[in-house]
Symmetry: C2
Subunit: 417 residues, 2 copies
DNA sequence: GGCACTTCGTCCAGTCACTGAACATAATCG
DNA sequence: CGATTATGTTCAGTGACTGGACGAAGTGCC
């Protein structure tokens, strides 16, 4: 064998239409402003004849729509095209340690349904948790159906090592799960959300990264560049998702991004995982709260934004312990993120989850660590920034992942609504 | 914009043949034993008619050949197919810190030409080094041409951060290079090796990883599985290449795999890069030699295998300092590789370069570190093994990279030799 | 207001690649 | 030696893209 990774799928003549439709959809989605059929023809190299035929089919199918007045032009005015939000939608579900959530988004990126149920899931039997989450998913699926949307798939974000192929959560330490057969359980339950087909299982930080990479609507001129970043999602544990060239890196099994157990100092304290000096020991939510002298249960308390908001408030008020705790966490993040960036080569470290509101304090020591320890920082800087999405990141990332899959393989969507 | 990473290329009708030819080539290359036209038709879903047409063209073009005796069968005996080594070849060049090398390999994986020139390149002006390397490349290109081979491209492996798009070595600390315009320099020189088109520039560890992933010839039943590994290439510095699903991970710019500067202990000694406690400080060739009490110049001395062989000899003889030095290096590798594997999710850590002969001593502490620190090791073990290729890994990886590109886009090769 | 001009989108015959069934080929088996 | 079995090839047919011609829908100038 030469390279097992080589693209190996044949293209039948009947697939050509779908493939080229997908290419056009990607162009429309990635365009700086809505393109016309003629512009698409020039950009792709297809003839205007072909583009028209494909576009007409996609407009009829409810994937694209014509946007009205283009303003004064020389020559016949163009009918500009954009993605349509009227038909296709994706469903995302988040099984968090401290809450459940489900939502539906359409192709324009609009959130068309969203439901969140707070509540600690630790210690509950997995099938109880999955039942509640499935009910939530069914509820938003019904919400979407009521708006005339067709849910083309569901993606579930779970805090652990997920075997997507088998549909099993292999290990989720913070939930206390081991080898939970999620896909089979959901399949047994049925319901509206399952009607869209086999659910996609993914690590929650990976879906948050997909959400961060998702830029619905016309891209600003800057947004057109391919994105690459490490999204660090601080929750009860610390996870990460990696996007390179706009695409999620999944590793061999989708078990990458375990930044929480990257070594910061091997002679450091013992981590819950059994090793020593993992990042979680220094920058995990509970560790930072403890170091700051705050109540570790602040996050499960009232809806005030949880641990992130509490720490940010303390830091803003000048609390010395909080400031020192955040500086320490930032330094630890700097060491761990530097290791990751040295290996991965990404252009940015994005702080999400509880870290997002703490960027003013975590960012500087983190950035300093990157400058000092990342070789490629001498050639090209590594940006540090807060995630654009908040608590809905995982759910929207799930929806985005579903929609991305649908747009790349639009074959069965072309028939019409 | 939605996802800039989405596959965006349209497929013209004239591209269909080339695409499907590529799919067939990949099947032939990846087959457990040489497949017939009929078997390819079943495997791909194309009709026997189409497969025959495409295969005939590729046989005429010298990409495939029929392998003679199939042994007794029921029914008409099949004409089995395999990649042909008679026409297409790739050229790989290595600019190492302590040697230059160039080689040519054909589609069967056979090395058809190889030339190595030892010699320390540090302190020499880049254009002198490039001139010598280009001469070497021209020499093997002529060797290949003399055998009737058509060199379809060249890939250069360089020990540093390479900007492949611009054709520039941005930073190569161990050579003392900064912003060296390699592609432009080579283009100015011309010569037989340049005739194949613009050279591909890549980090040397990345090419070594490509070589490790390259399994020419019929795959054993086991070899059919997609490969994922981190190849750690210990030389003057420590680099790494990552392969997931059989494909090289390049990161945003091809600057990943800098394992040498992954943090092992931030309170450790200062590294040449300015940071503290990098892996190179603990497991770099010079550091290990010094800890073992061996002459740091052993590697540049006579051809005895260099530092790896010297350390292996000392360890085999029971030298306590050498054993302790290797154990320490193995532990440091364990910490750094654990960080990398936690982030990347690969199934194996492969030790190459000077590390390859030291696996008996480096392997156990490294494996112990992985078991202890890598979360996914509780679900799926992480293998530790020595690289299959020796000093020719970078050169063969370069040739493989060129051939891989040619087979994935066989359009212009289909015309015939 | 009319006419030239520009650009957009559509129509239509033509080419090319894959399909599917029938046919020819080349071995083994009884 | 003929039946059987599986491979590979021939040939008309379908479908998707091509490219030039044409109609459509605006602006700008006289």
């Amino acid at each position: 064998m030469l390279w097992h990774g080589a693209r190996v799928d044949v293209t039948r003549q009947e697939d050509l239409r779908a493939r080229n439709s997908a290419a056009l959809l990607a162009r429309v989605a990635g365009a700086v402003d809505p393109p016309s059929r003629a512009a698409l023809a020039v950009a792709t190299g297809l003839t205007r004849t072909t583009v028209s035929a494909l576009v007409d089919q996609m407009v009829a199918a409810g994937l694209l729509e014509e946007v009205s007045p283009p303003g004064p032009t020389r020559g016949r005015p163009a009918q500009r095209l954009r993605l349509s939000g009227r038909r296709v939608a994706g469903l995302g579900v988040e099984v968090g340690v401290r809450h459940l959530a489900a939502g539906v988004a359409d192709l324009t990126g609009a959130t068309r349904a969203l439901r969140v149920v707070p509540g600690d899931q630790r210690g509950l039997p997995p099938d109880v948790v999955l039942g509640r989450a499935a009910d939530l998913a069914d509820a938003v699926a019904r919400d979407a159906a009521g708006q005339g949307l067709e849910v083309v798939g569901a993606a579930w974000g779970l805090p652990g090592l997920v075997d997507a192929g088998a549909g099993v959560v292999r290990l989720a330490p913070n939930l206390g799960w081991r080898d939970v057969h999620v896909a089979a359980d959901l399949d047994r339950r049925g319901g509206p959300a399952s009607a869209a087909g086999r659910p996609v299982l993914e690590n929650e930080a990976a879906l948050a990264a997909v959400a961060e990479a998702w830029r619905p609507g016309p891209a600003g001129a800057d947004g057109a560049a391919p994105q690459s970043f490490l999204l660090v999602s601080g929750e009860v544990g610390i996870g990460a998702g990696v996007v390179v060239g706009g695409r999620l890196l999944r590793g061999a099994h989708g078990w990458g991004g375990e930044l929480g157990h990257v070594g910061v100092d091997p002679s450091g304290p013992v981590c819950g995982c059994g090793a020593t000096g993992c990042l979680e020991v220094y920058a995990g939510q509970d560790a930072v709260l403890a170091a700051a002298g705050l109540d570790p249960d602040v996050s499960s308390a009232a809806e005030g934004g949880g641990a992130g908001a509490a720490l940010a408030a303390a830091a803003r008020s000048g609390d010395a312990r909080a400031l020192e705790a955040l500086a320490g966490a930032g330094r630890a993040l700097g060491v761990a993120a530097s290791s990751a960036v040295n290996v991965l080569d990404v252009d940015a470290v994005v702080l999400g989850g509880v870290y997002a509101p703490l960027v003013p304090w975590l960012g500087p020591p983190l950035a300093a660590g990157l400058v000092r320890r990342v070789l490629r920082a001498r050639v090209h800087p590594v940006e540090v920034r807060a995630a654009r999405r908040g608590t809905d990141a995982v759910v929207l990332g799930g929806a985005a992942r579903v929609l991305q899959g649908a747009l790349e393989r639009p074959g069965h969507l072309l028939a019409g609504p």
